[in-house]
Amino acid sequence: MIGLSFVLSGMLAAAMPFLLAALGELVAERAGVLNLGIEGMMALGAVTGFVIIFHGFGHATGFLGAGLAGAALSLLFAWLALSLRANQVAAGLAIGIFGQGLSALFGKSYESMTVAGLPKLQLPLLADLPVVGGMFTQDIVVWLGIAATLAIWAVLRMTKLGLIIRAVGENPTAARALGYPVIAVRYCAVMFGGLMAGLAGAYAATVYTPLWADGMIAGRGWIALALVVFGTWMVGRLFFGAILFGAVSLAQLAAQANGVNLNSQLLASLPYIVTIVVLGLISSNKKLLKRNGVASLGVPFDP
């Protein structure tokens, strides 16, 4: 029971770094651009946010700076991939590695330093419930993250902007024929993705684990990329996937603390295994792929 309430109260915060980054990546991929540099953008956002907050400018400024840093790096990627029409996979990997290197450089003199995190906010009444009460005691970024999930879902599904983004990702030629600026839309989608990755990094380094250490993103950017596939490019599925990933990672730690003997390596790799299964399932069926995938994902557009 202690383990269950620990997992329930911690899973939202544990999911937040993947969720924020994955939401941004989902928008970019929905517009047809595969950005593999998420890990580097998170790292750069993490160090930017950390340094700003370390020098006493507060979390709001820190997150703003982190988002801008992530967006700036993604702008470089967008220029390579969209304007120069470089291979998106190669450009994304290169920018990602570049971002990790930059973060190590900027963070050199802040290695192993700590900042104060954010206070937790309680939802009245709900927070007093037994076992599940902890779920409703979270820092403000978690609440904003949930709000952002809803907002992105609504924009993609119910607004004209969402329709344009999806059209650009499905069939850029048709979108252009209708008069939409395909490249500009893709630039914005990629930069939104970079912004969200930067915020995700800042959350990891200044709220969830309020310290800076080179390499602390530790593969969470790749989990975010896997999540987009896991969620089959749907916001709702991605959200639950992120929480599932967070819950599984906490559950294996809680099980050990409770003295339960289970294979922690297997549990830790479960999210990846599930992602491979999902990818295999939707790829094996043309209809499913058509319904769930993004038709022009990763294909450079030459107007």
Binding site: S112, A213, A257
Partner: protein
Amino acid sequence: MTSTLNRRGFLQTTAAAALGAGLMPALARAQGEPLGIALVVPSPFGDVGWSHALAMGLDQVVAEYGDRVKITKLENIPEGPDADRIMNKVVADGNKMLIAGSFGYQNGAMQVARRNPDLSVLHASGFMVAPNFTPFAARNYQGTYLMGMAAAAVSKTGKLGSVSAFAIPELVSSINAFTLGAQAINPDIQVAVVWVNTWFDPAKEQEAARALLAQGCDVIYSNGQDTPSVVSICEETGAYVFNLNSSMLKYAPTKYLGCVATDWAPFFLQSVKAHLEGDFEGHTAYLGLAEGVIQPMDWNADIPSEVMTRITETQAQLTDGSMHVFTGPIARQDGGEAAAEGVILGDEDIVSMDWHVAGVTTPLPS
């Protein structure tokens, strides 16, 4: 002379340096150049932790020998082919002493040692020995035994926890000693362990610490973390915490139970001296309180004074060898007997320890 390089900077200079590499060793001998000592570690040096402790040890060598030694420190070198290549490179550059600061460098470092008989290698936590290859390790268990005594004295719940990196003998034996020390003060104490299966993931380490705190553990042993991830969360949540290698007191000013610090300087100084005098001889260097390598420090003022007196006495006995941590009777977690009454486990049993003592509640991952 000290120069610090990171991996990227190192790679940049590689091309230029490779040109002169063939000439270097001959020149070094001819002109009586300083002894080149290279330190290779898998994580950033930072202000704290394992790599930091190794670097601090070398600083003492510089203080002693000055311009007669030339230190190259390489951080963030992943274990594997990258490390092998870089170790070959630093030796080709004329370094005559190599300190390979991670278990995973073992095979690569051994190859370099075999190819270069005039090179002296110190390798961390390994088991291979050669005439010019010395594996070294600290008897951390001596320090964690003392910490266990302190932990049991300050714990109100009777539950202690450890966030531990990998289930390797070095970490297992230190947890066992921690448990035995705690049992010397409170025979009913329980120790829960969470294996995070990583040397470096601060977020996961904090999650593991939170899982232990949620279980009611009120003293946490940060076992194998190079950042203050676990230490800082304990200060925040009001649980006592301690770690190994170098002090993290500044990250937990009120809740820092103490530190099992490692001072590699005595060992490094001795090895450099042996190399310079030409009588470096590969041997297993298992170093503890007696050699001054294990140094418990920064004891918390909350530890009751009568327990502190016992700790000091025990430390003196462990140092002069009149007492041993793993002295029978020792019961295993599974109910078996690890050591009968009066039997002292030898070094070979300690360095290959793959079982937990009774009192550790988490089964060892298989």
